[in-house]
């Protein structure tokens, strides 16, 4: 205690009288000072603010005033919200299994390939490095009607019927999803490859000695031992599909989320509510819904991982 009064006179003395442990505590908090300030101001405070804004009627022009659960009531009564909610889960329900199935099959066979292994891996991985906003335009071009669109050109050269793709309310969502699946495959394949390589070779050897077929080895050894990898990828890609935005926004800039809102995901609805209609409070309540959905998914993941 008395050291405090002497501090100005003998800072150096005080420092040298401190134990190694005390000095380390000071260093530690010194290192953490700026990051903690960052996390408080840029992460925690905005989190609370988002919850608060969701119960206000804040717009750009008028200051926020408390309206209780008004925004949430409006959301539940809004048919557009339910359409968007359905779309968002369609991206998830189609995107996650399709992309995981393709990437697992590719990784499973690629793992055994030695000839030009890294070259082939690179082919699959390259799309992961592209900019979604840029590639959405490439895909948009592919989906155009003849004579512009590449896919319809190919279909017509085989005498197959033309597809409306982005113009059809039923085809548009899978059409928008395709570039997102495409871009994510490379990452998933690399993670699967790492997971496959982490399985000890002795397990396989033992199984072969026991005379198990390839299919039985896959079912009884490979897939169970890949469970942590699978859980990670399911959660990671689910979160990605639930937050889809860049592709949807860019693939149809005339009417983002169209036609007739058939491709509109939650993040796009948030964006339009906040920055086209300027209903910030209403948009905030939508972000809280997104948060809750992602929270449930994370909790399910924790649960599955603990069961392991």
């Amino acid at each position: 205690m008395s050291a405090v009064t002497h501090r100005e006179a003998a800072t150096g003395g005080l420092w040298s009288r401190m134990s190694l442990g005390q000095k380390q505590v000071i260093w530690a908090w010194g290192f953490l000072a700026v990051p903690l300030l960052f996390y408080v101001v840029i992460r925690f405070w905005p989190t609370f603010q988002a919850f608060y804004l969701s119960v206000t009627d804040w717009t750009i022009t008028k200051p926020a005033s408390f309206v209780g659960l008004e925004n949430y009531k409006r959301l539940v009564a809004d048919p557009l919200f339910w359409q968007v909610f359905r779309n968002t889960f369609m991206y998830l329900i189609l995107g996650t299994p399709i992309s995981l199935l393709i990437s697992f099959v590719v990784a499973y066979y690629l793992d055994r390939v030695r000839f030009m292994h890294s070259f082939i891996r690179a082919l699959y991985f390259l799309p992961f490095l592209t900019t979604a906003a840029a590639m959405a335009w490439v895909w948009r071009w592919f989906y155009q009607p003849v004579p512009i669109g590449v896919i319809n050109d190919i279909l017509s050269s085989f005498g197959l019927p033309q597809q409306p793709f982005l113009r059809s309310t039923t085809q548009a969502l899978p059409t928008v999803l395709a570039p997102a699946v495409w871009a994510g495959l490379g990452f998933q394949i690399i993670i699967f490859l790492a997971g496959l390589r982490a399985i000890p070779a002795t397990y396989y050897e033992a199984a072969r000695i026991d005379g198990l077929s390839e299919w039985a080895i896959l079912r009884k050894i490979t897939i169970p031992l890949l469970k942590p990898t699978l859980v990670f990828l399911v959660v990671f890609s689910s979160i990605g599909f639930l937050r889809i935005f860049d592709q949807v926004y860019n693939i149809n800039t005339n009417d983002p989320g169209g036609p007739l809102n058939s491709t509109k995901p939650l993040v796009l609805m948030i964006y339009q509510t906040a920055f086209s209609s300027y209903e910030m409070g209403y948009a905030a309540s939508q972000t809280v819904v997104l948060f809750l959905i992602l929270l449930v998914i994370s909790l399910v993941q924790l649960r599955i991982m603990r069961d392991r």
Binding site: L20, Q24, V25, W27, F31, L32, V34, P35, L36, F38, Y39, I42, R43, F44, W45, P46, T47, Q49, A50, L53, V106, Y109, R112, V113, F115, M116, I120, L123, Y124, L126, L129, T130, T131, A132, A133, A134, M135, W137, V138, W141, F142, I148, V150, F187, I190, I191, A194, R243, D246, Y249, N250, V267, I270, Y271, A274, F275, A284, T287, F291, L295
Partner: protein, 272 residues
């Protein structure tokens, strides 16, 4: 063995065809960027008369150069900041013993549960109050540190033997020097993984830059490209050129650093 061979060849061929299909959109984008308007609907992969006119025209207009520089500055500074701060915090949480350490770790980790979309509105409010809209700082500030990077670095610093750090302490080095000169060089694979992820994430980022920039001067490349493509409407060769300019840097980096990038993705995926 000889009975396995045909199957191997079939699976190799199928994998190869699949790989070619995977890069088809990229190939078409690049090849169309080298065509003039009259050749666009000719679907030949190798242009009949390749030309750099699209690039000359687009880069000559100056906007793309500006957006390219903006993206470089933003992604570069955010990457440096993450490599510095995420590893500083990760190291502190891994190697210092002090009361509150666990609490700090849990607090930082808990921010992973908050989607950025939820923070975007408060960030926008903050940016407009402090005049950060349409500034580099406005684009960068949300990403200067990440919980993911901190967690990744903490995992790796835990693998650094305490003996190294103790020995440096006995030599009289201060804690900052120990971290920077002794511990950091021992985790370079993790640092490069973090740097690659952060750069790629910020280079391709679209949602926040779209919100926080209103003047074309401050657009990043993806936002600029999007606005450019809208105004070009059906001039696909121009749009493909813009898309190529946005995509080529990360593809080129990959060609040079393939080994590190793949290893980095594996490291981050397994530890993250």
């Amino acid at each position: 063995m000889s009975r396995v061979r045909p199957g191997r060849i079939v699976s190799w061929t199928l994998l190869f065809i699949g790989g070619v299909i995977m890069i088809t959109p990229i190939i078409f984008m690049l090849s169309t960027s080298l065509k003039d308007a009259s050749q666009v609907y000719d679907l030949r992969v190798i242009p009949a008369a390749p030309t750099l006119d699209n690039y000359i025209e687009i880069l000559g207009d100056g906007r793309f150069t500006r957006w390219f520089i903006n993206s470089m500055i933003v992604a570069g500074i955010v990457t440096i900041s993450n490599v510095f701060f995420d590893s500083l915090v990760g190291y502190t949480l891994a190697k210092f013993k002090f009361r509150g350490r666990y609490l700090v770790f849990i607090a930082i980790l808990s921010t992973l549960m908050i989607p950025t979309e939820m923070l975007v509105l408060p960030w926008y409010l903050m940016a407009s109050q402090f005049g950060w809209v349409d500034s580099y700082w406005g684009i960068m500030f949300p990403g200067m540190m990440t919980a993911f990077g901190t967690f990744l670095m903490k995992q790796f610093f835990e693998g650094v033997p305490d003996d190294f750090i103790e020995a440096a302490r006995i030599d009289g080095l201060n804690e900052f020097t120990i971290w920077w000169k002794i511990a950091m060089p021992l985790v370079t694979p993790a640092l490069s993984a973090l740097a690659i992820f952060t750069f790629l994430g910020n280079w391709t980022a679209f949602f926040w830059p779209l919100i926080v920039t209103t003047s074309a001067e401050l657009y990043t490349l993806p936002v600029g490209l999007s606005s450019f493509a809208v105004e070009q409407s059906i001039q696909w060769e121009k749009i493909m050129t813009g898309a190529s300019i946005a995509t080529l840097p990360t593809l080129l980096i990959f060609l040079f650093l393939q080994r590190y990038i793949v290893r980095g993705v594996m490291l981050a995926g397994l530890k993250g």
